[in-house]
Structure formats: C-alpha cells, structure tokens
C-alpha cells in the first residue's frame, strides 16, 4: 500500500514541531550511538553495569535452557551410538587396553617431570579451580564471540580468569556481575592465546576468526612447519592461561600459519570450570614442597630437592 505522508501533517504548528524533533532525535541517536561505540572501544568495561544488569535479570531463562541445549546437541550422537554399539564396544576395549599402558608411562613421566622442575627451582602453580558452572547464553547474532556464564563475583569469579571445559580451553572472563559473568571465547578476534605444538613445543599465537575456527600465527616466520592434525596446547607464557590446556587441532595450512578447529565446543559442553589466573613463580615455597614430598618420595629425590634448595638464591 502507499505509505501515508508523514512529513506534511497539515497546518498544525505543534504537529510540525513534533515531526521535526523526531528527525532531530533520530540523527542525534545515530551520532550518539557512534560516540558510545568509540567510548566502548576506549573502555570495554564501561557499560558493563548495564549489560550485567540485563544478564542478571535474564539468567534464570538461560539456566533453564542450559540443560536442554546439551540434550538437543547430543541427540544425534546418541542415535548413532545405538547403531554402532557392538563394533564400537570392541574397538573401545582394545583402545582402553592400550591407554592403560600409556597411562602408566605418563604417570612415570609426570613424576620425572616434577623432579626435574624441582631441580630447576620451579614450583608449578596449576590453575586452581574457582568454580564449575554452566554457560547460559551467547552473543549468537554478533561477530563478537562472548558467552554468558552462570556464576559471578559472588561465586568468586574475577575478570581475567581462564575458563576451560574438560576437553579444552573455552576462553577468559571479561567482566562479572553478582551471579553471571561474560566470557570472551577463544574464537573471538580480540582473544589472543599463546600456544605451543604438543609434539615439539613449537610456539605460536592463536587468534579467533569468529567463525568457529582460529588462526594459528607463527612467531618465527619462515618455513611453515604445521601439518593437519597437529594439536596445539596453551604454552603458559605471559601468564593468565595455565600451560598444557588443549586449545585446537590444525585443519589446514595457510601462507603464514594455519587454521585450526577448537577442541572444546562451547555448545556441546555442559559444565565449564573457571580457574584462577596462572602466575608462574620462581620457587620460594620450595621448603613446603620438600616437606610434603620427603615422606613419600625416595632417597634420590630428596637429595635432588636439597641440592635445588642450596642453589636457589634467597
């Protein structure tokens, strides 16, 4: 239908002024919106109060939906699992047998690792679990990749803390309100994670592309050593993320690095874990560590620790 002419309402001054003010306000809103964007770019946490308020109010909806989401996501898997149950069972048992051996070897390696670290005078500070919570929403319409977590400052969550699922890194906390917090996912273009290749420790940076994949950028530009299937872990350098959290698996090479798929799909995870910020420290608490280990480790280890202690400058 033909639109009614809104610009010329007649001879009423009042109506004319109202329309004029409307246009003025609309133009002003465009400018004000852009100004707000500039302010938000300078201070990303500036409007956190408004946003977290909205998140607080709508959190119950997200909590209600959270279990449903994982359920729906798993329907396909359950159906296919049903059809391939028998053959899969045999395969898995075979695999479990192999894994058991690998596990024993890994345990030995872990112990050795611990001893070597003590020799170097390093105390590993693993990311301690702050809280386990559900992801209750995300910015699914925007190119920014931010998820809402169902735990906030009341549960001990602080801005900057890394968030991980059982099978890999999810992101880090952007800001918190009382019972919710916003998590910057690793697929966001703003999120840069220092990573290393699991096989040989080749260092690189992971940067989000906001389409479910991440860019892996080399620090040493030269021959591109990546191969599809390489697994990238957090390197722990620069703090924040504890080392050895799985991040992504390489999908294809590019000219200056690689494109990788994330390992922990935020949509498929039920619970995620918020960890404390990782800060590598030169050991000053090595004595405490010694006392702890003295009664359970063997003689040579205790000696090594003593040597480490003697070498550490106080």
């Amino acid at each position: 239908m033909a639109p009614p002419s809104k610009r010329r309402p007649g001879f009423s001054r009042k109506a004319q002024y109202q329309i004029f003010t409307g246009y003025l306000l609309a133009f002003f809103t465009v400018l004000a919106g852009l100004a707000l964007v500039v302010i938000a770019a300078a201070d990303p946490r500036g409007f956190a109060v408004l946003r977290s308020g909205a998140n607080e109010v709508t959190a119950p909806v997200g909590h209600g939906f959270a279990s449903l989401r994982v359920g729906v996501h798993n329907i396909g898997k359950s159906v296919s699992a049903y059809f391939f149950a028998a053959s899969q069972n045999a395969e898995l048992q075979e695999e479990a047998k192999k894994n058991r051996i690998a596990l024993i070897e890994a345990r030995a390696l872990k112990q050795e690792n611990k001893r070597l670290k003590r020799l170097l005078g390093l105390v590993e500070q693993d990311g301690k679990t702050v809280v386990a919570a559900r992801l209750i929403g995300s910015t699914s319409a925007s190119t920014r990749r931010i998820a809402i977590l169902g735990a906030g400052s009341r549960q001990g969550v602080r801005a900057g803390q890394p968030v991980r699922a059982s099978n890999g890194l999810i992101g880090r906390v952007l800001d918190t309100s009382l019972n919710t917090s916003r998590v910057l996912l690793i697929t966001d273009p703003d999120n840069v994670v220092p990573v290393r290749r699991a096989r040989d420790g080749l260092v690189a940076f992971a940067e989000g592309r906001s389409d479910g994949l991440i860019d892996i950028r080399l620090i040493n530009i030269g021959v591109n050593p990546f191969k599809p299937g390489d697994v990238m872990l957090t390197s722990g350098s620069g703090g924040l993320y504890a080392p050895n959290i799985p991040v992504a698996i390489i999908e294809r090479k590019t000219t200056d690095g690689a494109v990788a798929r994330i390992l922990a799909d935020p949509a498929a995870t039920d619970f995620v874990v918020v960890q404390s910020i990782y800060q590598p420290e030169i050991a000053t608490r090595i004595e405490a560590e010694d006392a702890e280990n003295a009664n359970l480790d063997n003689e040579s280890e205790a000696e090594a620790a003593k040597r480490a202690k003697a070498e550490t400058p106080q």
């Binding site: 465009v30 919106g33 770019a41 500036g46 997200g62 939906f65 699914s140």
Partner: protein
C-alpha cells in the same frame, strides 16, 4: 507524559461504561504494545540455548523492525531507534551503541526509500529488506572490527543467507501479530 494521562483517562472511562457493541476500537496501549514489545522480545532471542562459535543467529529484532515498517508504514516514529537500539545493545554483545546507531540510520533510510517507491509489493519489500539486513550485518561487523579487528566479512555469509530466507516467515509472524493487535 500527556500521552500517558490520555491512556489512563481512556482506560478509566472504559472501565466505567459498559463496552459498546458498535464503534469499537482497540486501545492505544494495545496498538503500541504489539510492535514495540515484539521487537524487544526478539532482541532477547540471544538468550535462546544456542552457544555458537560463529555468528549464525539472524538479527531477529532488526528484522521485526523492518517487517513492521514494511507491513504498516508509519508504525515507527523516526526516533524509535533510540529505545529499541539501546535495548538490543544490552543483549547483542556488540560494542555498546552499535544497534542504537544502526537502527536509527535504518529508520531514516527507510523514510527515504518510502519516498522513492510509491507502490510496493512483496518481492520489492523482500529485496529492500535484504539490502537493509545486509547493511545492518556489515555495519555491525564494521563497528565490532573497529574495537577489535580481524573478522572477515565472509564470516557473515551464512548468517545473511539465513536471515534473508527467514524474512518471509518474520513477515507472516508480524501480520499475525497485526491481526491480534487490531482485533476488536
């Protein structure tokens, strides 16, 4: 404020007098609540249980805004982008102010488009809406990239195709809402 007292008076007189069977009209409140409420509700669609690692969800709030305008030109005052955009910004995750600017700009441009086309049909509306949706997504990307660049425009393609193909459905929903709105 004057508007509000008018509604109040209307409601009070309506309470006092028994409802007449002739010359009925839906209340001003109902007439306004449907478009405004539906767009605000659609802005909250990001609360749906989709935790996406890519932008896939169509901007349903903006699409409802377009559909209401296409179906009933004159539904929105030109300043409607201020409250609606502000509300959308609370949930969208875009840099704050992005929807405010884009909604207002879209409403201003829609006015211009209305001047151009006197008569319209469904296909023309759809094409126009597709252009506006594309512009909205690209504008949102430009604003988001201003804060933190890296995302490529190609990322938006699935979202754009989904949004454009969903538009007729949104129009159906809006026309259904419009029937409810004008029911006497």
């Amino acid at each position: 404020m004057i508007r509000l007292t008018n509604w109040w008076d209307q409601w009070r007189t309506a309470r006092k007098t028994p409802r007449s069977r002739l010359d009925r009209a839906p209340s001003k409140f109902r007439l306004n609540a449907f478009p405004w409420g539906s767009v605000m509700l659609a802005s909250m669609a990001t609360l749906l249980p989709v935790i996406a690692s890519a932008p896939v969800m169509p901007p349903i709030g903006f699409m409802l805004l377009l559909a209401w305008h296409m179906l009933r030109p004159g539904t929105w005052p030109v300043w409607a982008g201020l409250p609606l955009g502000l509300f959308d910004d609370l949930f969208s995750g875009q840099p704050f102010g992005s929807a405010m600017a884009l909604y207002s700009l879209a409403l201003l441009l829609l006015e211009v488009a209305d001047k151009r086309f006197m008569w319209r049909d469904f296909w023309q509306d759809w094409i126009l809406a597709s252009l506006f949706i594309g512009g909205f997504l690209l504008g949102g990307l430009a604003i988001a990239n201003w804060a933190a660049d890296n995302a490529h425009a190609i990322v938006l393609l699935p979202q754009f195709i989904l949004s454009v193909s969903l538009y007729p459905v949104i129009v159906r929903v809006v026309s259904w809402l419009d029937r409810k709105r004008l029911y006497r």
